[in-house]
Amino acid sequence: MTFGSGAMTNSIAEIGEAQVILVSGSNTTETHPQIARRIYEGVDRGARLIVIDPRRTRLARHAHIHLQIRPGTDIPLLNGMMRCILDENLVDDLFVEMRTENFLALRDMLYRVDIAQCATLCGVDEEQLRLAARSYARAQRSVICYCLGVTQHVCGTANVRSYANLAMLTGHVEQEFTGVDPLRGQSNVQGACDMGALPGVLSGYQPVSDPSVRARFERAWRVELPTTPGLTVLDMTHGDGSSDDAGVRALYVMGENPALSDPDLGRVRATLAGLDFLVVADLFLTETARLADVVFPAASFAEKSGTITNSERRVQLMRQAIDPVGSSWPDHRIIIELSRRLGYAMNYQSPAEIMEEICMLTPIYGGMYHDRLDNGEGLQWPCPDRRHGSTQYLHKYSFTRGRGRFEPAGHVPPAEAAEEEFPYILVTGRVYHQYHTGTMTRRSDLANREYSRPLIEVHPDDARKLHLRSGLAARVVSRRGSCVFTVRVSERVAAGHLFATFHFAEAPVNLLTGSASDPVARCPEYKVCAVRIEREA
């Protein structure tokens, strides 16, 4: 949106060559170990590591500067850093002049920013903030990696824009070893977005609202396409369940478990229960599948062929290793059969044939034919045609949208603040040995042994105040619900904050979280919710 495309601008290996690595809102060693490998590599080569995170993660312990901000204060922190860069003449004037637009708006906004105030608001030391700004700006090769700690806020989009502002202000984009890199989560979440599993776009981020785009797809599919964007997940799962014409009446869920993973679960469950018809395709009978009218047993990655696109835009071929277990089918076969019975005969003999259609209709995937991907390492998009190779980093000579646009942003407080009745801030996230709602990992004996119970991390000072010890049961209550966790006293969280994961159906933390979300991306604020915690008898 600021640069014009939503993916990692660089390649993973480049991180190891950077001089300054700024990691924000990412518990990289637990959630992206292979990227952590490159970060360690960089640090061993002498790179400075700056970590922005409310938690003292393992990576934060290795950081030269750890800015342990209050959750949801990325924007004031970045504005403070940018003001410092402005004051100390560390702006890359040439880059700003040649490659960007709207700089004056940013500058005017920054002139109204007070660094000391920002530091106080974020809860960090002013001098550390300045130090971070200086080292990021001064180095020739600085890279930013961010993850869900940045996006899962009511101001997620503005957060991302602010990181982009910082990178553009200092000219740290469009070159090797620099850039702004979102670390994508599930193995193919990048691919799902690329394929248009977003409400407003068809594959390759081509807007539904563009008639010429629609025309191309309509010719290929010989149907008329809707002209308006669809609903976001949040809109689907947080309907009121009533049967008025605006509400969703039927849902087909593939490999998702909203009955555990979506915020404000009470509402999600009511919506799912109120549907006329629910279909779920998954490997196991998940919490969501249990509510379904029809369940399709789906094949796992090992039982099917296709492609997976990772964080660095690399499309890789995945080949079937074993026959589908039981009566499961690969997803594409389920969809084809379903479509046939609904009266639209899809006719694809193989995933390779489907990919040919993707190549035809998706410019950034134009040359991604299966036979070409069969080279051991795949190809990075954009790859417009067969003659085109991999693209290592984006925005080489110009941003996708022409000039990069500065989008100044002011502080947006989280939807909920700590207050008398709910004095603690709960941050949710993940741990190494579990994966998402545990559909797979909770069925693995060893992974489950390593992290077997829903834990809540409590800072030692708070634990003392609340008379909590590790191992005790504690009830955590928010405006929307309550769950019981086992206490783990830990200095990984700051005083006043709590941390829990969403892996466990026994303590579905999303009963507590709210559904306030970013107005643009509609990504919910999983990272901040006000709660109280009390000892459970």
Binding site: Y40, H62, H433, L446, R449, S452
Partner: protein, 361 residues
């Protein structure tokens, strides 16, 4: 009978084809993605036997699979008392004569080590034993060690004096063959046409290759020094604290290691009437490896775990078996994303021994 023979390179494949008649043949094979693994060869015309790369995994999983069903169990009711009753049905593997071809010295040495644990005297692990019993090892002395190899320092290569049935040395157009254990003798007796006697010149050439190989190691790892330092005092708190800071508890080092053989046994319920008792690889670097009921853990969550693994390799096995159980294959070096591998550990210990201060990354 002479202990040294010559096998012409042209005759290797024909020999393996013969052996295939009564055995499974397992050798390093490069797959279509360029990765080399020990693989059973069924079709000799289309298998790319690869002796130029180190197989990515060792032989461990052939004898101790990553996951194996030990028995099935069925639950029922006792006919009289009505109490819940279990009946177990063991799933013991069948003995399958197998030739392991192209095994490097370190990997073979590792099998000798795991034998110590699983096949000692009467305390035999029947599952391991069944898989291991009819194995024939045709090993290859390493003329050119790989990038992270240090078997010279662990004295488990590049060539072995024992343990193999046949050990081959590459002499350009021919293999120099040393005969080890009785199965090797039998193999030669069964297929004499493939072998000719080695000459004095062949023996000299072999000696030369072995000598040169020792000079070709790129890594100089002071295993003996580390063992000595640990024997003097096993604490080295600073070194282990520093190493543990980067250990994320993934178990990769133990899974890839040919001599890490800790396992876990768990009952996997499959339906209402029963399930399976499954043995899977485990790792001492997992916190859950030693955690007890009530969350009590005698090994601390961070440093203790990591220390345990390195002490086992470099100190406890020296005390028990007289030598470290690291065989210097170097596989853990690239496995760990944090770089917490045995070479790093040894280097840090040595550095600490030298300057007295805690090792730094």
């Amino acid at each position: 009978m002479h202990r040294t023979l010559i096998l012409q390179k042209d005759h290797l494949l024909p020999l393996l084809r013969k052996l295939r008649k009564d055995n499974r043949v397992i050798a390093p094979v490069r797959n279509r993605f360029g990765d080399t693994f020990f693989t059973e060869i069924e079709d000799f015309d289309n298998a790319a036997i690869d002796l130029d790369q180190q197989p990515q995994t060792s032989l461990k999983s052939f004898f101790l699979p990553q996951s194996e069903t030990l028995c099935r169990y069925v639950t029922g009711k006792h006919p009289e008392s009505g109490a819940l009753e279990y009946s177990f049905h063991a799933q013991v593997p069948v003995r399958t004569p197998t030739v392991y071809f192209g095994v490097r010295s370190c990997d073979l040495f590792a099998v000798m080590y795991t034998d110590l644990v699983f096949r000692r005297a009467r305390e035999r692990d029947i599952y391991y034993d069944r898989r291991r019993s009819d194995a024939v090892f045709i090993s290859i002395g390493c003329a050119r060690p790989f990038a992270d190899c240090f078997c010279n320092a662990t004295r488990s290569g590049p060539f072995l004096d024992m343990g193999f049935d046949l050990q081959l040395t590459d002499l350009g157009d021919r293999w120099f063959v040393q005969i080890g254990r009785p199965r090797g003798v039998r193999l030669i007796e069964e297929w004499p046409a493939f072998f000719t006697l080695a000459s004095e010149a062949d023996r000299k050439a072999q000696f030369q290759v072995e000598l040169e190989a020792r000079g070709l190691f790129r890594r100089h790892v002071h295993v003996d020094l580390a063992v000595k330092l640990l024997q003097e005092q096993p604490d080295h708190a600073a070194v282990f604290a520093e190493l543990s800071r980067r250990c994320q508890d993934c178990g990769g080092c133990a899974y890839i290691c040919p001599t890490c053989i800790c396992f876990n046994i768990a009952d996997l319920r499959l339906d209402e009437d029963g399930g399976e008792r499954v043995r899977t690889w485990d790792a001492c670097t997992f916190a859950g490896f030693t955690r007890m009921t009530g969350d009590c853990n005698p090994v601390d969550g961070e440093t203790g775990r990591v220390r345990k693994r390195f002490l086992h390799k470099l100190l406890h096995d020296v005390q028990k078996h007289g030598r470290p159980s690291c065989v210097g294959c170097g596989r853990c070096v690239n496995m760990c994303f944090g770089g917490v591998d045995i070479i790093r550990c040894i280097e840090m210990l040595a550095a600490e021994g030298e300057n007295g201060s805690g090792g730094r990354w």
